[in-house]
Symmetry: C2
Subunit: 219 residues, 2 copies
Amino acid sequence: MSHPPFDLYAFWRTSATFRVRVALHMKGIAATEHQVNLDAGEQRGEAFLKINPLAAIPALVTPDQPPLTQSMAILEFLEELQPTPPLLPADLYGRARVRSIAGMLASDTHPLVTPRVRRYLTGSAGFDDAAWRAWQMQWFGTGLAAVEQRLASEAGTGRFCHGEVPGMADICLASIIAVMRVFKIPTSGTPTVDRIVAACEELDAFQRAQPQRQVGAPT
Amino acid sequence: MSHPPFDLYAFWRTSATFRVRVALHMKGIAATEHQVNLDAGEQRGEAFLKINPLAAIPALVTPDQPPLTQSMAILEFLEELQPTPPLLPADLYGRARVRSIAGMLASDTHPLVTPRVRRYLTGSAGFDDAAWRAWQMQWFGTGLAAVEQRLASEAGTGRFCHGEVPGMADICLASIIAVMRVFKIPTSGTPTVDRIVAACEELDAFQRAQPQRQVGAPT
């Protein structure tokens, strides 16, 4: 299947970019990556603001269309653009379950630990490094514990979050673990999460998306 | 069209419950509401934990299926269950735009100002009332300013966030404004947002979902 040329504006470390990379790899859709160095504030620089005035990555850009933003909206877009291999199961309740688990991670966990939140808490609210780390641990811990409880108890769980093939929930789960590793935060008491992430990481699409393998990652 | 009987576990004030209420009303799907008093901690009580062990609302429950959770997953479920009237446009890029705007509000804004975040910041991080209010203003302000910039500049905007009929982005936008009103936080410098929310509030489905019209709201 042929697609328009895609450009992905990305940063090596971010969880949201990871999600889009895995989905592109799974579906075999090529995108040219352009690095936006968040540590250097490039997302707020004039060059990037022409691409996304909202100063946020990832942005998936294709000719003659506004930039696509928000990682979960991009995943749904890629799923509709090229339905195979699927990121969502075929049945109504299965799709709702996968999107719910994905939301627990992408909506209820990740937005709390982004650079802009760190900037506010350390800049305006007096958080020192220890307070920031406690904050990170709180929300990564709460999110993963809740997901573990579902994965360990619900009948839908298989080798992956939902059945025997990886999908949108697995992408979100692996994206959280990937960024936790960057910040040297181990998981704890989440055996089902750990097992599923290990299964994901046997797959080429997930391996190629790992932060340390991206342009711009520290060596 | 006939549906299974739905039970919605809800609280009068919450933004996420508002979203599900509007979608149900728009699609004409009935659900029996059950109040979970978040101020009294009922979400962590034994009775509700049997319905959702994750102590989160909204939960949409139907016989012989696990509870549906996460408001955006529930909206996608309702859209697939009953496609008309649609919450998403028909075209691929339009759908991505609506989901992206919805995500800016439901993922990048709302999770930062939930009760559990308040509990952490005031309980463990020493925030007083003024610091909490500054935090609320920061994230409501940032989210709405970003959405305003898109709505005011992008060709897709019409009477509603995307064209001439209300959809998923409008539901998310109105849900944020509804909870801001509960906390007496006015919008500022967002004329397009204000105009679109006013258009939403002319519609019965949005009016009936307003917090102050729900069981349990203060009189």
